[in-house]
């Protein structure tokens, strides 16, 4: 079942120099029970997309078209109070920096109780809820953790507490924006395992937004690849990593030194730079950096070509 559908969403940021088109006709779907990865480099619009899904994209942002539908209802046109009722309760969010996700002057326990203000029940039962959720995410002494302030926890523990906070209200859709970027590799592995274990008994959809190719490969069932505010390729994780069809996806995967089996030598690079999103050209936005570029690519936007039932790429060079 499709829980969340983003349909042809366009968003621009107003800047003194003119509007920047951060999202240009993005469509994605997240289904119940799946982990969807949104992959891309800085400036591709992945974090803007995550913020737009909960309709908190920042004061200078303006949605210029499209819809975000949660269970069929367009979130963007709902009154503010109904939107607020959805956030947290139905669509949860885990932010990149677990330090700033919490209020520094309140204990973890006080904040986890506050987060449940939508729910009925006494403070004591909410505190008990919070404690069992902290235990669930692998915090060893949960009762102690409730009494601590955010700065007293290590980065890994804070990220676990942030995950507990997001899961407390049992949302259907959980969005994690770069959930492991601030962590060491050993802690990153533990958080990945935690998210995977939680996914087994969490029936909703998890959306992971990251630039880390390893995290997506470990965790996701399906991947959406973004470039310059557009979706360029979408498919099952194995197809994306082993049979990428869009030249950008292939180039991005090739750059990662983790992909190579031996050290030394030159790494492949993409060359060129991201297009200016203030004045995007008429054709394919990857054309200036693409190795397979043709005349057509500079003039006409590429069609979305379905390679299989689950795999599609927006490229003139792709044929079914």
């Amino acid at each position: 079942m499709t829980l969340l559908a983003v349909d042809n969403l366009s968003l621009q940021y107003r800047t003194p120099a003119g509007p920047v088109q951060a999202l240009r006709g993005v469509s994605i779907q997240a289904h119940a029970g799946e982990v969807l990865g949104i992959m891309g480099e800085s400036g591709c619009g992945k974090s803007t997309l995550a913020a737009a899904i909960i309709n908190l994209p920042g004061a200078n942002a303006q949605v210029t078209g499209g819809e975000v539908r949660y269970r069929g209802r367009d979130i963007l046109t709902l009154p503010a109070d109904q939107q607020r009722a959805l956030r947290g309760r139905h669509i949860g969010m885990i932010f990149q920096d677990p330090m700033t996700a919490f209020n520094p002057v309140l204990t973890i326990g006080a904040q986890l109780v506050d987060f449940q203000h939508h729910l009925p029940g006494s403070t004591t039962s909410k505190r008990a809820n919070a404690q069992s959720m902290l235990t669930r995410v692998g915090i060893p002494d949960a009762a102690m953790c409730l009494r601590r302030y955010p700065h007293e926890l290590s980065g890994g523990m804070r990220q676990r507490a942030a995950i507990a906070a997001a899961l407390l209200l049992q949302p259907d859709v959980l969005i994690a924006d770069e959930p492991t970027t601030a962590l060491d590799v050993t802690m990153e592995a533990q958080i990945i395992h935690l998210l995977r274990a939680l996914q087994a008994d969490f029936r909703g959809a998890i959306i992971i937004v990251t630039h880390h190719l390893g995290v997506i490969a470990e965790l996701c069932d399906r991947v959406v690849v973004m470039y310059a505010g557009q979706v360029v390729e979408e498919g099952l994780v194995d197809d994306i990593y082993h049979a990428p069809r869009h030249p950008y996806t292939a180039a991005l995967l090739a750059c990662d030194p983790a992909k190579l089996n031996a050290g030394g030598g030159r790494l492949p690079t993409i060359g060129g730079r991201l297009p200016d999103l203030m004045h995007p050209g008429p054709g394919c936005s990857f054309a200036p950096r693409c190795g397979q570029v043709r005349d057509l690519c500079h003039k006409t936007p590429p069609p979305r070509v379905a390679v299989s039932g689950t795999h599609s790429a927006s490229c003139h060079a792709v044929t079914t």
Binding site: D184, A189, Q190, I192, H212, L213, A217, P257, G263
Partner: protein
Amino acid sequence: MSLLTVQDLGVDLPMAGMFSQGRLNILSGIDLTLQPGETLGLVGESGSGKTTLARAVLGLQKISSGTLTFCGRPLKDNHDFRDIRRDAAMMFQDAVASLSPRMTVGQLIAEPFVIHRVSRPSGKVADLLAQVGLPPDIAGRYPHELSGGQARRVGVARALALTPKLVIADEPTAGLDVSVQAEILNLMNDLKAKLNLSYLIISHNLALVRHVADRIAVMYLGRLVETGPTTQVFAAPRHPYTASLLAADPKPDPRQRRADLAIKGEIPSILRRPLGCEFHTRCPMAQGQCLTKVPQLTEKQPGHWARCHLT
């Protein structure tokens, strides 16, 4: 003759508090050598003392014990360290924050000449910019006008300004996208061959270290736990910590997902250093002697050292 020799290095810091007499042991017993033209990769989790070690080598952190030798010359007082900072340059972790926001790129690149009172050949700034692949007109820009990759390149140009023998790079690609990371690594690789540089690269990115380093040194809680040729350490790690670090690194291949966790828990606080082998609290192989007896760094294979009772 080796370029840099670190022998039995220790760093203690005074504990916080005005009347506190205690000292906190950050690094101890570090032995490292770096040959000319060699790249040494220093890896470990946050808090393992990697950056402190790099700062100690440059005299930015006072050492409490041990000796440092650079090109055969022992480093003792501030005067020695000032000299070595001409031959050993540092690329700092946060590339943008390490550039003064009030200076232009041209001024920033010329600054090492001013600091070390070395006369600057005319056109040197433009040469350095060309060497790191930046257009000459960038010299008039301020740091906030640079992208992350450009700021890194300015950091490389500054490090190379006085034609050093050694470049210490602290997380040279942290915060960069993989495609930009590849460009910076290629640039550093080209410059190494061209200028016969040695690198000391500090990183927690194991794939990066495997790609660039000839030898690797693994640190845990301020101790060296394993050191050896990169290929050998990656193929057959001799310390369980190295093995678990390698296993924890997510591979960009969904067919290589890990079934279970190699390492649990967190790095302990240095305020409460475990007794015996410091890794025993997280080690999957820990036995009786590991809890009481401190293992010594021993040579397990020629050039491949590890600090473990069991391997």
